[in-house]
């Protein structure tokens, strides 16, 4: 019988105190493994803290596309005690732990950054194994489970590296300990050390001297391993050929690049985790090249640029405002001037943006609000993951305005969706909320280089000329409810805006007839939006399209769900479909009904307490999920977790399962 080739999956983890370079070492590892020919997905977990608390990065490498992490770890790399105390338990039989050989006597109770609850948990496990409470005991427990131990004399190796480099400054050399943990991992899995050189250039952004120094340290570690440990680790990661042109990217970066492509030329923000990285990236890349014009295709210059000698470079203005009230208002102000503009924030920031959102809706101003959701409510879990803001963004604001709320499932979608968000905003003259989340923001993923061949920028009814001699009405009643729009500064285009109800010119009006007509004009755009956006931009369907059991979800749960479905299929489950909602508002009820009406089960998988999308679907389409798999502990779903949750639902028909994995 033909056995389907099992997907190769290697799960690697590194941990350490925040501020000690965990991030760059994880980037180093992820890029180096990708460079060796593997797809990677990496998840970053960290506290709302700058230095000292524990952070870790889990990287999964595979020979085919991988979209999420798994619960088990094959190889844990560490250079502090806390990482081993916390994560040794996740390392599976046959796996390995890299650790600092000098830390074996560290005591669990002496580590101040491990929470009491977690300490008790660890102590109990050790007690069950009749062991004490030192790091050595944790390692012994792992060894008994069949985990290989790789003690490294970091200090000796650092000194040795120092000798080779002729560098005596120990504090400088000490910074390379995380790189050494990565090099050790590479030696264990038999990966090509030269790929680390590439990884170093990526992680340290071409700071040549730093790269060379770190590479020397890598070589020292590699040699030490070759002569001190058996080369018998069961997972091997030899070089292979990638058939695709990939980039290794995180969510904030890919959205930033997409904004430049989309023609966003003003981005405003007030610093907030996990959104700020996007704006900081854009500020760093604020000047960019312009494509050479090809035959017969010229630039479309704004009429406001007549008689101007423009630069041959493009520029995006990134503005750090005093708060999020100003951030959204500034984006709107720029949009009024004819500029594609956006603001980027997270839940607490969006709470402040609601008044601006309402004004934009009332005045039909296109504006894009990129939201990286994080754990709420209030300050919540600032650095952790959640999908808790769907209903808030759908309903935010007093009174009623048309709006679009859309969500991306992965980085490639986030790229194209960002561009679509600007197109929708201008085409329908509405605010567009683009929902992303912490998991997308901070994960690293290998994705194909986004192709731009089909990308078009739709500016809707934006008038690109002066209007001499015509009467212009900004809010002219039209068939579609959408009126031609001019940028401030257009001759003959003078208009007024107001958050008060207004007439076609934009002057305040409390006339009941005009009020009704204006409400109808604005709100009818929701129907126009419903009819104009093609089905494949609203939903995506995966798996068995004739399935009896359907998973419904939105946003970054897509990755773990797709990976879980692959696993379930391997385990013999069939007839499961997955409907991913990309446009959440106006909710694509017609598509939901078409697919889900006859379903035996509608299993709603979401990372919030109440199953918000399920509620929205019930309200809009009259379809109620039969089962709920939810999680709100601040850690994104792993694929194995979704798989297990789904199995519970499928086998025991449990109505609501709360998952709770992840450290």
């Amino acid at each position: 019988m033909h056995e389907p080739k099992k997907k190769f999956v290697f799960s690697w983890m590194i941990g350490g105190a925040q501020g000690s370079g965990v991030d760059s070492s994880a980037n180093l590892f992820a890029y180096s493994i990708a460079s060796a020919g593997y797809y990677v997905f990496g998840k970053r977990e960290y506290y709302s803290n700058i230095k000292g608390e524990h952070s870790y990065f889990n990287v999964v490498a595979s020979d085919s596309q991988v979209r999420s992490t798994v619960d088990n770890v094959h190889l844990l790399a560490s250079f502090d005690a806390e990482t081993v105390f916390r994560h040794a338990w996740e390392v599976e039989e046959g796996g390995g732990i890299v650790f600092d050989a000098t830390l074996e006597n560290e005591r669990l109770r002496n580590i101040p950054t491990i929470e009491e609850r977690v300490k008790e948990d660890i102590a109990q496990r050790l007690k069950n194994d009749s062991l004490g409470e030192t790091l050595g005991d944790v390692l012994e427990s792992a060894r008994r489970r069949g985990v290989r131990l790789y003690p490294i004399p970091y200090m000796d190796l650092i000194k040795k590296t120092g000798e080779i480099l002729g560098e005596k400054q120990l504090t400088l050399l000490m910074r390379m300990v995380n790189t050494m943990a990565v090099a050790a991992s590479f030696a264990i899995i038999g990966a090509d050390i030269n790929r680390l050189h590439r990884g170093l250039s990526y992680a340290f952004r071409a700071k040549r001297a730093v790269v060379d120094m770190n590479f020397t340290a890598c070589k020292v570690v590699y040699d030490y391993f070759k002569s001190n440990f058996p080369d018998d680790f069961p997972i091997r990661v030899p070089n292979r050929q990638l058939s695709e042109d990939l980039i290794l990217v995180n969510g904030t970066t890919i959205v930033g690049i997409a904004k430049i492509v989309a023609g966003c030329r003003v981005q405003t923000y007030y610093p907030i985790t996990p959104a700020a990285d996007e704006s900081v990236y854009l500020e760093d890349k604020q000047v960019f090249s312009l494509n050479a014009t090809s035959d017969g295709d010229e630039y479309e210059y704004p009429h406001l640029a007549e008689n101007k000698e423009l630069s041959d470079k493009g520029h995006i203005l990134v503005f750090q405002s005093e708060d999020e009230l100003a951030a959204i208002d500034m984006a709107i102000g720029a949009s009024l001037a004819g500029v594609r503009a956006a603001t980027s924030t997270s839940g607490p920031g969006f709470s402040l943006m609601v008044e601006g959102l309402g004004w934009a809706g009332m005045n039909e101003v296109p504006v894009v609000i990129t939201i990286y959701q994080r754990g709420g409510p209030s300050t919540g879990l600032p650095t952790r993951h959640e999908q808790g803001d769907l209903l808030f963004t759908v309903f935010a604001g007093h009174g009623e305005i048309p709006r679009i709320v859309m969500a991306s499932g992965d980085m490639l979608e986030a790229f194209y969706d960002t561009i679509k968000a600007f197109n929708y905003a201008e085409k329908f003259q509405v605010p567009v909320v683009h929902l992303l989340d912490k998991s997308l923001a901070n994960s690293t993923h290998t994705i194909p280089v986004p192709a731009l061949d089909d990308v078009l920028l739709d500016r809707g009814l934006l008038i690109n000329e002066h209007l001499d001699g015509k009467t212009y009405k900004r809010f002219q009643f039209t068939e579609t409810g959408i009126s031609p729009r001019v940028p401030l500064g257009t001759r003959g285009g003078i208009f007024w805006n107001t958050g008060d109800e207004h007439d076609e010119l934009g002057h305040i009006s409390e006339d009941p007839i005009i009020r009704t007509k204006m409400m109808d004009k604005r709100m009818s755009k929701l129907q126009v939006i419903r009819e104009s956006i093609p089905p494949n931009e609203k939903v995506a369907i995966y798996g068995d399209s004739d399935a009896k059991d359907w998973i419904v979800s939105w946003g970054s749960t897509k990755g773990p769900i797709l990976d879980a479905l692959e696993m379930l299929e391997e385990e013999g489950y069939s007839s499961i479909g997955f409907m991913q909602f990309k446009i959440l508002y106006p909710f694509p009820s017609e598509l939901a009904l078409e697919t889900l009406q006859g379903a035996r089960r509608i299993i709603d998988v979401e990372q919030n307490y109440s199953g918000q999308m399920g509620k929205l679907m019930a309200m809009e389409a009259g379809l109620r999920p039969t089962n709920l798999v939810v999680k709100y502990n601040g850690r994104p779903f792993t694929s194995t977790e979704v798989r297990d949750g789904l199995k519970e639902v499928l086998s025991r028909n449990i109505k609501r399962i709360v998952m709770n994995r992840g450290g």
């Binding site: 970066t253 010229e298 520029h315 203005l317 280089v449």
Partner: protein, 328 residues
């Protein structure tokens, strides 16, 4: 089109019914703005007037120019962004004292840090007009205007001093009923390269029965010699006061700032109007952006092409992808 016609105040009027109370000081400020724009011969479509919410914030509807009546307290962020997006625009922000110094105080202070080339006119009537006369942030402690059930127990902010310490580079005060003088201040504010702040003492005959037109005119203090009222308002420039920083030195700047702040505390029988402080040597925001991205001056956001005639994006991000590309 070139300006063929001389612009007059009439070009800046709209046919909209003005629903301010009769005798409201806002009328004088509106006329002053219209006169200033006409005298500067700025074509109406090149002007954008932003306001917040309040009686005063209805102003844009009465001016024939782009008029953006925003949210309570927020005219500044809207206005600043429009100016940054298209520096060709003449941008004015207008609003009440509650709007600018109560709900909008954060924006008021932070606007001073940037020196973006706009002019902000604050209609200071000591009350929240449109919500029927509650105390505004400029009403002094112990005072009880008509609609207050009890005297005010909050202290007042000093808008001139606050503007100066926040970094505004043109700080002036006008009086709503001295439209000629106010018009000149507004013209100076518009011509000044940087953020201009003009506080306008604005009688609200409906709710502020303390700081009335008559009170400012000193009708309660008759000069026994001339038998005429002794006006409380006087012009700084007539006293030889000069608040302009002439040389860009820290000493001179600090000296002028201190002098201006001291002056700003004059109140009661002698109330100064005019330019308190002016510093043309502070780099404007566009100059600051240009130190990082000189392209900005040539290609402001609203002037840049973003797509081609066949609707394709014009930005070339291949080098950004390249930095992230997985290379074997």
């Amino acid at each position: 089109m070139t300006v063929t016609q001389r612009l007059t105040m009439a070009h800046f009027r709209t046919p909209i019914f003005n629903d301010w109370c009769p005798g409201c000081g806002d009328f004088g400020i509106l006329s002053s703005i219209q006169m200033a724009l006409a005298e500067l011969q700025i074509e109406p479509h090149r002007v954008a007037v932003f306001s917040g919410i309040g009686c005063s914030s209805k102003t844009p509807h009465y001016i024939n120019a782009y008029g953006i009546h925003t949210v309570h307290g927020r005219p500044l962020p809207f206005a600043l962004a429009a100016k940054l997006a298209n520096p060709d625009l003449t941008v004015l922000a207008v609003g009440g004292d509650g709007d600018g110094l109560g709900i909008g105080a954060g924006h008021f202070v932070n606007t001073g840090r940037r020196n973006i080339d706009i002019t902000y006119i604050l209609f200071d009537n000591g009350v929240y007009g449109l919500t029927k006369g509650q105390a505004s942030p400029t009403l002094r402690r112990g005072l009880k205007t008509k609609a207050l059930p009890r005297p005010n127990i909050n202290d007042a902010v000093n808008p001139i001093a606050l503007a100066i310490v926040s970094g505004y580079t043109f700080v002036a005060r006008g009086y709503a009923y001295d439209t000629r003088h106010l018009k000149e201040l507004i013209k100076q504010g518009i011509l000044h390269r940087g953020t201009s702040f003009i506080q306008v003492l604005q009688p609200c005959p409906t709710y502020n029965d303390l700081f009335t037109k008559e009170w400012y005119a000193g009708e309660d203090r008759i000069d026994p010699q001339t038998n005429k009222p002794m006006p409380r308002i006087y012009k700084l420039e007539e006293t030889g006061y000069d608040g302009e920083v002439k040389n860009p030195s820290e000493e001179e700047e600090i000296a002028k700032i201190t002098e201006a702040i001291k002056k700003s505390y004059d109140w009661g029988d002698r109330i100064p109007i005019g330019v308190f402080y002016k510093n043309p040597h502070v780099p404007t925001y566009d100059q600051r952006i240009a130190t990082i991205a000189p392209q900005y001056l040539q290609s402001a956001p609203a002037w840049q092409p973003v797509r081609s005639k066949s609707l394709r994006p014009v930005a070339d991000v291949s080098s950004l992808f390249d930095e992230l590309r997985v290379k074997p």
